[in-house]
Amino acid sequence: MSLTLLTLLQQFVLLLAALALFLSFVLLSQTRLIAAIRVFAWQGALVAAVTLTVALAGHAHHLYFSAALTLGLKAMLIPAMLHRMTRRLGLERQSETLSRPALVIMAAVVLVIFSYWVVEPMVANGLAFTRNIIAVSLAVVLIGLLMMVFRQQAVAQVLGFMSMENGLFLAAVSATAGMPLVVELGVAFDVLVAMVLFGVFFFQIRESIDSLDVDRLNRLTETEEGR
C-alpha cells in the first residue's frame, strides 16, 4: 500500500523500523563494546517504540504490555546487565579491530536485499499496514547472525544474538500484531535466562582461556592433530 494512504502515526512506525535497521548496521561496525551496548539498547527502545506506536495506531491494547516488556527487557535490563558484566570483566575500554569492515557492511546490505527477496512474495497478502516491516525484521535477524559469525569477542557475539532477538520481536509485532501472551512471556523468560547464562559463560571462558576472544576456543576440531 502506498505511503500516502497511511496516517502519520502509521508512517512513523515505518520510520522507526527503518531506524532500527540502521542501528543494526551501526552495531555491526561499532568496535567499542560500551558504545555497542548503548546502540543495542537504543535498538531495543526503537523496537519497543514500534510496538507502542502499532498499539496506538491499530488500537491493539494487548500490545501495550508487550511494548512495556520489550522496553524493560531489551532497552534497560539486558543492556544494564551487559554493562555491568563488561565492567566486572574490565572490558570498558575494549575495542576490537575488525577485519574487512567494509566487506562485512556490504554483506549486510546483501542480506537486506536477500530478506526482501525472501519475504516479498508473501507480503502481498498481509493484512496489517506493518507487513512491509517483515523484510526489515528478517534483515535485523540476519545481520545479528552475521555479527555473531564475524565477531570474535564473546560479548559482541552476545550482542549479535540479542539483536537477532530484537529482530524477532519486531517480526512478531509487524507480521502478526503480537504473539499470544503466554508465548511472549515465555520468549522473554528464555531471553532473560539466556542472558544470565551468557554472563556465567563470560566468566567461565575467561577463566579457561584468559580472554574473551572466542577465536581462541579452538581445541575441539575434526583434524587429527587437533586432539
Binding site: L15, F22, I113
Partner: protein
Amino acid sequence: MSAWLVALLQALLYPALAPLLVGWVRKVKARLQNRRGASVFQPYADLRKLLVKETRVAHTASELFRVAPYIVFVATWLAAATVPLVALDLPIAAVADIIVLVGLLALARFFLALAGMDAGTAFGGMGASREMLVSALAEPAMLMAVFTLAMTAHSTSLQSVMAHHLADGFLLRPSYLFAFGALVLVALAECGRIPVDNPSTHLELTMVHEAMLLEYSGRHLALMEWAAQIKLLLYGVLIVNVFFPWGVGASFGALALGSGLAVVLLKLLVLGALLAAGETVLAKMRLFRVPGFLNLALLLALLGLLSHVILEVGA
C-alpha cells in the same frame, strides 16, 4: 519568455547570494565562540579585493593553470543554475537533471584537481590526490541519495522531485531521512567543511581544498573562492529545497517569487546556523578516518534506496 527570464534571474542570484551565506556562517561561528566576528558582508569585500589585485602565475605553470579558474567557476555556476532556488517549473528542467548536476560538479572538481597539480608544488599534488579520494567516495553516495529521491518521483529532474514532494504533502519517508543524512555528509565532505576539511585555514598539513589553491592569486583566486562559495550555497539549497520544499514559488508572479526568495533565505539562514553550530562542536577528523565517514554516507544512501523499495513501495 518570462520563464527563461526567471531562470536567468535565479542563475544570477546564486553568485550574488553565495558570499552572503559564507559570511553568515562565519558570523554565527564567531558568535558561538564568543567573538564579535567580521560583518556578514565581509566575503564580498574579500572577493572585490582579490579581483582588483595583481594576478601572479607561477613560472612552472601551464596554460591549464590560467584556464582552470574560469572553467571551475562556470561549471559550478551552471550546476547551481539547475537547482530551483525560488520557483518551480523552470524551463531549465528540460535541459538539465540531477545527473547533469553531478556531472558539472565533477567537471569542476576535475579541473580544480588538475590545476592543483599543475604548478608542481608538493601541497598542490597532495591536495589534489586527497580531493580525488574524497570525491571518489562521495560521488557514489551522492548519486545513490539523489536516485532515492528520483525513484520516489519517478523522474531524475529536481523540479519533478520537488513538485512530487509538494503534491504528497508531509510524509514521514524513511528513505528521505536516510537520503537526507547521506546528502548532509556528502555536502560536508564536498564543500570541505569540518569534520572533513577545515575551511578557515590554509596552514594545516592535512588541508584538502586550500592546498590546491595555494599557488593562486588575484583574479584567479577570487574565481576559485567564489566557486567554492557557490558550491556551498548549491548544496545548501539542494538540501533545504528538496527535503523541505514548502514555500517555493509555484508561479512566476512577483509576489510568489518574492515570498519564495524570502522563505528560501530563511531556510538557508537556519541551515547556515546549524552548520556553524556543528563546526563549533565537532573537531576535524584525521584524514584516514574520512573514508569511514564517507562509507557511512554511502551506507545511508544505500539504506535509503533499500528502505524506499522495501517499506514504501509495498506490494
